[in-house]
């Protein structure tokens, strides 16, 4: 059996990978995928914890994260489509609606 610590290492690697994508990629869709990767890294940590300590709280929280991710996809994709229509690009370097 694989030691539980490896799961944690995997999830940390996944999270770092996601964060790296989010920070380096300029395409909004790629950013989006990076975010998904980070979310699922978090899920993996939750499940590992559930295996370690037992109990139902962690799997329940993971289900919430999944639902949230689904909702995020729905809203996020809509935003991306709309941004593409109005700005004609998905380069996050060029999208600065929030400039103060």
């Amino acid at each position: 059996m694989i030691p539980l610590a490896w799961y944690l290492v995997l999830s940390a690697l996944l999270f770092a990978l996601g964060a790296l994508v989010v920070m380096t990629r300029r395409n909004a869709l790629h950013l989006f995928m990076g975010v998904e990767l980070m979310l699922n890294a978090g899920n993996l940590v939750l499940l590992t914890g559930a295996r370690l300590h037992g109990g139902a709280e962690a799997p329940a929280a993971m289900l919430f994260v999944l639902a949230l991710a689904g909702a995020e996809v729905a809203v996020g994709l809509a935003l991306i489509v709309l941004t593409h229509r109005t700005r004609g690009t998905l380069d996050v370097g060029a999208i600065n609606f929030l400039r103060g």
């Binding site: 920070m23 300029r26 950013l31 996050v92 370097g93 999208i95 600065n96 609606f97 929030l98 103060g100």
Partner: protein, 622 residues
């Protein structure tokens, strides 16, 4: 508690509100409620007059007005004989002038507003007259000033009218400052502002106060009653419609100062210095204004300066202690000067807004009723017996002589001569000879205008036989009229004085006749051409306006500009703008962080998370 008293001001107040709210619906019918209101007020005044005839005193303490600790005052109206005389004059002449205005203001785009303002004036003036304490009197003293301001500037499209209104208001502020100081001193020293109580407590004033208070009250009167040195607003006030000049700037409002001084007789009698000052200022005003009146060519300006001059006589009367005579002259002056002004309005109306008497002449043929009443009123102003002005002016001069003020008497007599001369210069140039303006088609005014003229002309004829001083004597034992009959130490019997006074007036009329009554050719100011240099000084009104410009207006303007530059623009604007710029700069510096670029946000977020984690895990956790 007499409910008749509040009715007198309430009728015109109702008129103001009604016309104000229904002006659009009323249109050219706005005079109806206005005249009804003033007429009702006049009838109520007649009832009050009948009630105080026997010497009774009415009062109405309506409701508490200001209650602040030890200071309490209420809306308190009183009516004695003095009040009743003023009320009759104010409401009676107001009624006539309201009727006159129907014809004069016909076709004016702001017709309803004019009548609302007139009613507001009557309301304020009656309140002023009825006021039983100085504070109430002061408030309505200001209110009549407001009415005057609004009506002088009634045709505010003309710059000259708007400026004249401002001048009147600002000059009056100077006088009112003195008046309000007097009220504060009265309250501090006597603890009350009730006029009757103050009269009784006068002897308790310390000497300095007993002198300062009447002098400060007199400063107020110099503003309102156009005395030297604050008379300069009244001639300019002629920019207003002529009925306003007649009502406010000749017959009633400008006499408020005289009325106030007569009301405050005990205070004035308590200080010989104050009385002397009042007498000298009054006499100087009478002379100065009469000399300027000699050379004016605007029909209303001549009358305006004669008003200032006649007010000087009234103030002289107060100064020599002849309060009854001053009020007598106030009443007769109201009759004949209102008549003259309304006559002038009729002339201006007929000449299509021409006011220069050099353009007139021969109007007697075109305006028979106007010229007849104007002639009667001119005789009254000139002081020719048996017309009204003769008797009242003579009472004042007699009191001056018998009081030992020989110099004031001589100056007053000389002024009477000047008065007769300029009055008849005005009459001859306007109504006699040949019409000098081309393309003029004078026509007599409508009956609404001539009827008040006839009534006032009659009063100017018979007004001298009203025994006003005798009537007031009962109510005003303090008034100095009693000394008129008592002392003859002046060395001249009353009959001799009457003859002298009549002779002086008639010689003035005769000189004007000889100079201006030319059957052939154009009448010239032949007399003035001999004294050309002096004439120029008079034409420039002794350069008083220029002196004020140089002495007051310019320094104030320069000081204001300095304040504007240093204080307002420098300090205040500097502080406000500086603060705004500071906030803007801080915001600008901070907005660099709000780039709107998502990668930057994410990067900073990641750095923040890592830093927080590092802090928690490595250092601060423990």
């Amino acid at each position: 508690m007499d409910l008749l008293l509040p009715l007198i001001p309430l009728f015109p107040l109702g008129g103001v509100l009604f016309i104000g709210f229904a002006s659009r619906q009323l249109g050219e019918d706005a005079h109806l409620p206005a005249i009804v209101a003033v007429l009702m007020s006049f009838l109520a005044s007649c009832a009050v007059f009948a009630k105080v005839w026997g010497g009774a005193e009415l009062s109405a303490d309506l409701f508490p007005w200001i209650v602040a600790g030890s200071f309490q005052t209420s809306i308190y109206l009183v009516a004695d004989r003095l009040t009743a005389v003023m009320l009759m004059v104010v409401t009676g002449i107001s009624t006539l002038i309201h009727i006159y205005s129907v014809g004069y203001m016909h076709g004016d785009p702001r017709y309803p507003r004019f009548f609302a303002y007139l009613n507001f004036f009557v309301f304020s003036m009656t309140m002023l007259v009825l006021a039983g304490n100085y504070l109430l009197l002061f408030v309505f003293w200001e209110a009549v000033g407001l009415a005057s301001y609004l009506l002088i500037g009634f045709w505010f499209e003309r710059d000259s009218a708007a400026n004249a209104g401002k001048k009147a208001f600002i000059v009056n502020r100077v006088g009112d400052f003195g008046f309000s100081l007097a009220l504060m001193l009265l309250f501090v020293n006597l603890g009350t502002l009730n006029i009757a109580e103050i009269g009784a407590l006068q002897s308790r004033l310390p000497l300095a106060m007993a002198t300062a208070i009447p002098l400060l009250l007199f400063v107020g009167a110099t503003g309102k009653s156009a005395q030297v040195p604050l008379y300069i607003w009244l001639p300019d006030a002629m920019e207003g419609p002529t009925p306003v000049s007649a009502l406010i700037h000749a017959a009633t409002m400008v006499t408020a100062g005289v009325y106030m001084m007569v009301r405050s007789a005990p205070l004035f009698l308590g200080s010989a210095v104050a009385m002397q000052t009042v007498a000298v200022i009054g006499c100087a005003t009478a002379l100065l204004a009469a000399t300027i009146g000699l050379v004016q060519n605007d029909i209303k300006k001549v009358l305006a300066y004669s008003t200032v001059s006649q007010l000087g006589y009234m103030v002289l009367g107060v100064g020599v202690g002849a309060f009854g005579a001053a009020m007598f002259h106030l009443v007769t002056h109201a009759f004949f000067k209102a008549c003259l002004f309304l006559g002038a309005g009729s002339v201006i109306h007929a000449m299509h807004e021409e006011q220069d008497i050099r353009q007139m002449g021969g109007l007697r043929r075109y305006l028979p009723q106007t010229s007849l009443t104007f002639l009667v009123a001119s005789f009254a102003l000139a002081g020719v017996p048996p017309f009204a002005g003769f008797w009242s002016k003579d009472e004042i001069l007699g009191a001056a002589l018998h009081g030992g003020h020989t110099l004031l008497f001589v100056v007053g007599l000389f002024t009477a001569f000047l008065t007769a001369f300029y009055t008849f210069r005005l009459y001859f140039l306007t109504f006699e000879g040949e019409l000098r303006a081309r393309n003029a088609h004078p026509h007599e005014s409508p009956a609404t205008m001539t009827t008040p003229l006839l009534v006032l002309g009659t009063l100017a004829l018979i007004g001298g036989f009203f025994n006003v001083p005798g009537f007031l004597e009962g109510a005003h034992a303090a008034g100095g009229h009693a000394e008129l009959g008592a002392g003859h130490e002046g060395g001249m019997s009353h009959n001799a004085l009457l003859l002298l006074s009549a002779a002086v007036s008639l010689s003035g009329v005769w000189l004007a006749h000889a100079t201006y009554r030319k059957r052939d050719g154009v009448p010239r100011d032949a007399l003035y051409e001999r004294f050309a240099r002096f004439h120029r000084v008079l034409l420039n009104k002794w350069y008083v306006d220029e002196i004020y410009e140089w002495l007051v207006v310019q320094p104030v303007m320069r000081g204001s500009r300095l304040l504007l530059r240093v204080l307002d623009k420098g300090l205040i604007d500097g502080a406000v703008n500086g603060l705004a710029r500071l906030v803007g700069n801080i915001g600008g510096a901070m907005s660099v962080e709000q780039s709107g670029r998502i990668p930057t946000y994410i990067l900073s977020m990641a750095i923040g998370v890592v830093a927080t984690l590092a802090y928690v895990l490595v250092g601060g956790g423990s």
